[in-house]
């Protein structure tokens, strides 16, 4: 039962362009969503999050959009840089002590 899905295993983008990573979830009880970034041989690092009371959260070049009716969230990176090349995981949780449920990850490659 895959409650959080990232249907694109990989994405390739040119440097300077926008990267859009997508994530879908099935559990309507999820009310907090996070994106993690993972480089090879390292653990995931927290990138950005959004609560279900918002539909957008921005942090520098990174913006996360949440569409609750579609149970869909996306991460936009503008402009994309070669250092952004990594695996990106979305995760979801329920408030008040819920555990993180991760998607399968999308490998982003930003080409110079």
């Amino acid at each position: 039962d895959q409650q959080v899905k990232q249907n694109s295993p990989s994405l390739s983008v040119q440097e300077g362009r926008i990267s859009i990573l997508n994530c879908d979830y099935t559990n309507s009880m999820f009310d907090y969503f996070l994106w993690y970034k993972k480089y090879p041989a390292e653990g995931p690092t927290f990138l950005i999050s959004i609560s279900s009371i918002k539909d957008k959260n921005e942090d520098g070049r990174f913006t996360v959009f949440l569409n609750k009716s579609a149970k869909h969230l996306s991460l936009h990176i503008v402009p994309s840089q070669p250092g952004d090349s990594a695996v990106y995981f979305c995760a979801a949780t329920k408030n008040q002590g819920g555990k993180l449920i991760f998607g399968q990850g999308t490998e982003l490659s930003v080409k110079p």
Binding site: V4, Q6, P9, Y32, L34, A41, E42, G43, P44, T45, F46, S49, F89, A91, A92, T93, K94, N95, Q96, G97, G98, K99, L100, F102, G103, Q104, G105
Partner: protein, 116 residues
């Protein structure tokens, strides 16, 4: 500030052998997590500790996996006996406050286990 430390970084064993992983969380972090990440999948929570008590171990295969966090600091995860399907990266994470998915989790580099 030192991050989450894990050892060993790599381990190769034969099936039916036992193996143990060690984790030292960030100083002062009350909550410690062990995740299993199988190739091509996202991390899956195995067990969550708050100080030295277990908060959630619903996805821990208790017939072969065990974990402890003595004195509420370091933790060990053991597999005995190992199966081929246990080949994965085992990630340890910690967070400052008790539990809650909204609390930022800091991950260690992981231990890559290969069971032959």
């Amino acid at each position: 500030e030192a991050g989450v430390a894990q050892s060993p970084r790599y381990k190769i064993i034969e099936k039916r052998q036992s193996v143990a992983f060690w984790c030292n969380p960030i100083s002062g972090h009350a909550t410690l997590y062990w995740y299993q990440q199988i190739l091509g999948q996202g991390p899956k929570l195995l067990i969550q500790f708050q100080n030295n008590g277990v908060v959630d171990d619903s996805q821990l295969p208790k017939d072969r996996f065990s974990a402890e966090r003595l004195k509420g600091v370091d933790s060990t995860l053991k597999i005995q006996p190992a199966k081929l399907e246990d080949s994965a990266v085992y990630l340890c994470a910690s967070s400052l406050a008790p539990g809650g998915g909204q609390e930022t989790q800091y991950f260690g580099p992981g231990t890559r286990l290969l069971v032959l």
